[in-house]
Amino acid sequence: MAAMSLRQEFVKGLWKEIPPFRLVLGLCPALAITKTVDNGIGMGAAVIFVLVCSNILISALRNLIPKEVRIACFICVVATFVIIVELTMQAFFYSLYQKLGIFIPLIVVNCIPLGRAEAFASKYGVVYSAADGLGMGIGYAMSLTVLSAVREILGYGTFAGISLFGSDFEPFTFMVEAPGAFVCLGLLLGIMNAVGRRAKA
């Protein structure tokens, strides 16, 4: 039973409650940095790390944190891990750090870690919270990768920097600009809804 539900906690983040589609959280980075697949994967990895670590720590501390100031405590925990990511990226992946720019510190307010802390980690045990964090993180990373793949293929004609269509390709620049981001995310959300409804029926 326990093993089963542990799996369920992990799997729900991959489809049933996949952010940012089902759980409409963390839209800003999903729009901003998904110009290329590298960025999408980099951001996804950063969010997975922050989410798993903050979920584990908050769940371990859940009986020590007073209810009245819990949000402030959660923010501190999340911010700590975000700073770790920020400094690590600056040291080892400098070009990625420059491309993601302001959106790395903004993981703090990218409601997903905070939302999971409030909705899940503050109520359940350490192992379950880790599974929840890992599932949600991987779900978010997958969404970012799909979104950035669509935008990069249409907008630059490349996938992770590899040219796909040869020199005749006329890039659809709209996709890598701001309006394309909104339209692309909106359409993907619509497709997800349509597929989800058909699966239910």
């Binding site: 729009l31 700073i83 307010v109 409804r197």
Partner: protein, 197 residues
């Protein structure tokens, strides 16, 4: 002139919502009705301007003096969270009508990435204190402009036949895309103005 370019840039060309992608969660969440959108807008303008002024001072007078700029993220978010709580208490006590108008939106603002985003941008762009305050105010005004425009559009959704799969957030994002396309037309206005000088 330089100030004018800064203002036009912040409100229209680099609109914080439609060109910089900051603050999308409240944009989708509270843009259903015109009056809630404008109350939220006022609250955001107020908090962003105040928060940027304070974090600017914190950055240059505390963090840099002590050589602790790596703590920027943590300190800024705590300053913002504290500020929001303080503003909430202050308004509740002293200006009750204003509190009633934007009270319930204040706690939400702590996690609005536009607030932290502007605070960090101001430091990244190495603005002076005056420039920072003007930039923050205008960015927030741009946010409010986009939010109110969106709310006006969304009120019409209720009487429009929207495909089921697109209802809710999906159609909001598509509409935002079209709005962003319109705002995209402002690109180049700032450099043209700069050339006039």
């Amino acid at each position: 002139m330089a100030m004018l370019i800064l203002i036009i840039n912040a409100v229209l060309v680099q609109n914080i919502l439609l060109a910089q992608y900051l603050g999308n969660c409240p944009f989708c969440g509270v843009s259903k009705k015109l009056d809630t959108a404008s109350s939220m807008g006022f609250a955001v303008v107020f908090v962003i301007t105040l928060a940027s002024a304070i974090t600017w001072c914190v950055q240059y007078y505390i963090l840099e003096k002590l050589g602790m700029t790596y703590l920027q993220t943590m300190v800024f978010i705590l300053v913002i969270a504290g500020l929001v709580q303080f503003v909430e208490l202050f308004l509740k006590k002293l200006v009750p009508p204003m509190y009633r108008a934007m009270g319930i939106y204040l706690p939400l603002i702590t996690t609005n990435c536009a607030v932290l985003g502007v605070a960090i941008l101001v430091i990244k762009k190495q603005f002076t204190f005056m420039e920072s305050v003007v930039f923050a105010f205008c960015s927030a005004a741009g946010f409010m402009l986009a939010l109110v425009l969106m709310a006006g559009l969304r009120q019409r959704f209720e009487i429009s036949p929207i495909p089921k799969a697109l209802q809710g957030t999906a159609i909001t994002l598509l509409t935002a895309g079209l709005m962003a396309l319109a705002f995209f037309g402002f690109v180049g206005v700032d450099s043209a103005l700069a050339a006039l000088k």
